[in-house]
């Protein structure tokens, strides 16, 4: 008999079908927050601090209040909310300094862009004019922007704390001292992983509509369910009276995994004025106040025997957390600690993290969130170690790979990797990539370099027992949910608690459902991002929406299928165990002409004249799923660069990647995730940098200054896959949304260093822009 949870025969899973989402998007008919307006709607514009650190002496709002069309101006002291903005991570036993962070600063500003007042009025342009009429007197305070200076002493971002240290947190396993004692060679590097922006092309937007005791909020968010919860808590509204809607969301990359002050404040304003209120950030506001990512200085040490066996890996991470702690701010570096072994069998691994305040925008999750930083340290250090040992880089990697037969593999720190075959991924990469041939094709006058990255990551966030309050300390579970409704006509609506914003889950989930119900994905609609529909959910981030979200969908669908089989068995007078999905029907095995299609089953369920004894009518099921473990995607990437030593310019001329996220549900969508992920990391490695000057002024506050890669800056990619199923879920799947970003910065950095070894360069930190490269070459030559 086929039990609930057994995989069905795949017809749709594995197919590279076109996306169900696309028609509305390619015709310009989608609805993002800024496309939604409500009758009676007012507009908000913020007055933001031009100072990085200052006391607010006075705020004069009189001129702004009398500006035509202005309805109200509020400052920090006008807002009578009791709780500061939320931070949801407090690991047991770890002391975390968490000064109050308000939606409008009350007495002090701590970074450029910190909001001081909000102007509310009838017209989108006029509120901006009026905001310019607000006069704020600041008393500047000393500024600290360098994370190591901030750690060493004052000035203090929050004077009352008497320190800039946020917290200290360590995770280790094995005997780290013995590991280094056994090492013949120890390589140490100071690895800087600079600050970047998520830079979703859709700016953040919020529309708050409070009426008659209930709040509806449209927000460009990845986490509508968290948003509902925190709006309820912050405003003191009972949770069932809050509806949060993430409509079409134009990219997130972690930057919309947040509870922002603007969301809370606009809800408060809408309640206060009894009018809907909308705000959409300008790009400059976004660069100033949409949370940043990365920004770590790490002192990394790796020890190995002369024959290349890694004996110990230690990193001390100094994490620049910015001026306040937002939703997950102090967690982010820790996510890297869980995979600080990388793909290697290392007997002793230790990560020590210190979080530090500076007068900058807070950092939080940006694509990969802690794991790109970890992979970068590991993979760059492995290359450095190979050079020190005089050993081939890939030979060193192979020598230390966790053995394919060692899975599930418990690492030194006790994390259990679900499945993996790292040599197979590297072998497959080398089927596509001939390093010696690539070197021979170098153009004259350029330095050609080749770099590799063999990576794993931890994703599919869940499981609650590991991440929750008594484990890692997140103040939430991390399960996911799905509800599957078969309509009378046999059409299917799926409600998922995830909140996709470009990943294509409407298509992926429809494929999962279609195989299990014998229907066509075209007739499966996936609804997401609205707390007013479907079950509780937790949103889209951490490459969780397939491994946790689609698995919930599979589970709910199997419950529907099980009920359908009982109905069909009853109606056709067959044994339940003989009924299965066969060629688009629930049919009797061995006599496939005896069967009912989904519409016929639904008809029997909704016009319940002949159901099995005691069966409820209807055909709709709910499932909640909390995995037993994380999932660990992996792969091997190769990057070829040409460096112009005269200008310092780096061209990525070839990029080959083999990734393993388990059995592919939709190969087209997986490739798309990898492409985007790689370019996100190439952007960081080569072009992008959030740069504050020493006065705390944000130098890169527009897309004219913050260099996102364009189509002309990157090559096309050569991709392949291996498919190693995860034992964690019935689909066998791992995540893929962050994989490319986690892998790629090390590959390109290693390629650039490889290119420059002939001129004496042995190491360089990102960003690998022309100036940095040129200076590094000059230093090496002198």
């Amino acid at each position: 008999m086929t039990a609930v949870g057994d995989p069905p025969a795949a017809k749709w899973v594995g197919q590279a079908i076109k996306r169900k989402e696309d028609p509305r998007l390619i015709m310009g008919r989608a609805r993002y927050v800024d496309d939604i307006n409500v009758t009676g709607q007012l507009w908000a514009s913020f007055v933001r601090s031009p100072e990085a650190h200052a006391r607010i002496v006075s705020v004069d709002t009189e001129a702004a209040k009398s500006y035509p069309g202005v309805r109200a101006v509020f400052t920090g002291h006008d807002v009578d909310l009791e709780s500061p903005l939320p931070m949801a991570w407090v690991p047991p036993g770890v002391e975390v300094n968490n000064p109050p962070h308000w939606s409008l600063a009350k007495d002090e500003v701590n970074h450029v862009g910190d909001p001081v007042a909000v102007v509310i009025g009838e017209d989108r342009y006029a509120v901006v004019d009026a905001a310019e009429q607000v006069v704020v007197e600041y008393d500047p305070l000393p500024v600290v922007t360098d994370v190591e200076a901030a750690l060493a002493g004052g000035p203090f971002v929050h004077e009352s704390l008497g320190t800039n240290t946020v917290h200290e947190w360590s995770l280790g396993g094995g005997d780290i001292e013995a590991g280094f004692a056994q090492a013949d060679v120890v390589v140490e590097r100071r690895v800087v992983n600079h600050r970047t922006a998520g830079a979703a092309i859709e700016p953040r937007g919020v529309l708050a509509d409070y009426r008659a005791g209930s709040l509806t909020m449209y927000s460009s968010t990845q986490v509508p369910h968290f948003l509902r919860l925190f709006l309820a808590l912050q405003l003191g509204i009972s949770e069932e009276r809050v509806r949060a809607i993430a409509p079409e969301v134009g990219g997130g990359f972690g930057s919309k995994l947040q509870i922002y002050g603007e969301e809370v404040l606009l809800a408060w304003v809408s309640r206060k004025l009894e009018r809907p209120v909308k705000w959409v950030e300008s790009r400059t506001e976004g660069m100033q106040t949409t949370h940043h990512g990365r920004d770590q200085v790490a002192y990394v040490r790796v020890g190995a025997t002369r024959d290349g066996k890694i004996t110990a890996f230690h990193t001390k991470i100094i994490a620049d957390l910015g001026a306040y702690l937002m939703l997950l701010t102090p967690t982010i570096p820790s996510l890297g600690a869980f995979v600080m072994s990388g793909v290697y069998d290392i007997p002793a691994v230790q990560t020590d993290i210190v979080g530090v305040f500076t007068n900058k925008m807070p950092t939080d999750a940006i694509r990969g969130a802690g794991r790109p930083e970890a992979t970068h340290m590991i993979e760059v250090l492995v290359d450095q170690l190979a050079a020190e040992l005089g050993m081939d880089r890939l030979e060193l990697r192979r020598k230390n790979f966790m053995a394919p037969d060692s899975f599930p593999h418990e690492t030194a720190i006790g994390v259990v990797y679900d499945s993996g075959d790292y040599p197979a991924a590297l072998d497959k990469l080398l089927e596509h990539f001939d390093e010696q041939a690539a070197r021979r094709e170098a153009p004259p006058g350029k330095h050609r370099g080749v770099g590799y990255s063999t990576y794993t990551e931890i994703c599919g966030l869940a499981p609650s027992r590991a991440t929750g309050p008594s484990g890692f300390g997140l103040q939430t579970g991390l399960w996911e949910s799905a509800m599957v409704r078969v309509h009378l006509t046999g059409a299917v609506t799926v409600f998922t608690g995830t909140s996709p914003h470009g990943q294509g889950l409407e298509t992926t989930m429809a494929q999962v459902v279609a195989d299990r119900l014998g229907c066509d994905p075209a007739n499966v609609e996936v609804i997401h991002g609205d707390t007013g529909t479907g079950p509780q959910g937790l949103g889209t981030y951490g490459s969780r929406s397939t491994a946790v979200g689609a698995e919930s969908v599979a589970k709910a669908t199997m419950k529907v299928a099980e009920k359908a089989r009982r109905i069909v068995a009853h109606q056709l007078e067959a044994a339940v165990e003989d009924v299965d999905v066969i060629e688009g029907k629930f049919a009797v095995k061995g006599s496939p002409d005896r069967g009912m299609n989904l519409a016929e089953v639904a008809g029997a369920a909704y016009i319940p004249e002949n159901l099995p004894e005691g069966m409820e009518p209807g055909l709709e099921e709910l499932a909640f799923y909390d995995p037993e473990n994380f999932v660990f995607p992996f792969g091997a990437h190769a990057c070829v660069v040409d460096v112009d030593a005269e200008t310092g310019n780096v061209d990525v001329v070839r990029y080959v990647a083999v990734d393993d996220c388990g059995p592919a549900i939709n190969p087209k969508l997986i490739d798309g995730q990898v492409h985007g992920g790689i370019v996100h990391a190439l952007g960081q490695a080569l072009f992008e940098r959030i740069h504050y000057d020493e006065d705390g002024q944000l130098v890169t506050s527009t897309f004219a200054d913050y260099a996102l890669p364009s189509a002309a800056d990157v090559p096309s990619f050569e991709l392949d896959r291996t498919e190693t199923p995860s034992p964690v879920n019935s689909l066998g799947v791992k995540g893929v949304g962050e994989a490319g970003t986690i892998a790629a910065s090390a590959a390109v950095t290693n390629a650039v260093i490889d290119a420059l070894r002939p001129v004496g360069v042995t190491y360089v930190n990102m960003p690998l822009g022309p100036m940095r490269i040129w200076e590094t070459i000059q230093e090496a030559r002198t």
């Binding site: 390619i26 969301v249 990219g251 790009r283």
Partner: protein
Amino acid sequence: MADSVRVTVTVNGAQESAEVEPRLLLVHFLRETLGLTGTHVGCDTSNCGACTVHFNGEAVKSCTLLAVQADGAEIKTIEGMGQEGALHPLQEAFWEHHGLQCGYCTPGMIMAAADLLQRNSSPDEHEVREALAGNLCRCTGYHNIVKAVLAAAQAPHSDSAAPPAPSEEGRKAGMAVADQGLGA
């Protein structure tokens, strides 16, 4: 705030007329005055290209133009490119080749690509990448966008007829406001 000015523009073949503030950006005129929200705003500095539309047959960034500069002009937006069941070849190709993820940059990307294909009906990969350098996408890594544009170049073109130039009065009104700068 200056007095409002009447602007008459042909958008996707239909004549539209409205009184607008002289400083109103063309993109806001399209989105908020006319309700054509397929054209997006991503950066305010003309870097991202999400606001790209066709102005008298050529791609422009509509966050860089004032509505009054479009007086008398012929504008085409993503809504004018194709409909359900009758998609533009570029729309078909973006769908077929997964040239979009979140979709926010997509309308501008399609309008910029259409502009390229009007000028160069069989571009190579390098030419496509250079032509799209003013349109930023954070999701796709461009790989499939480039693939889609190259594929669309092979498909039959449905709208190569050039729209008419702006009227002389419209052009003068626009230039007069542009000469005053943006401080109006």
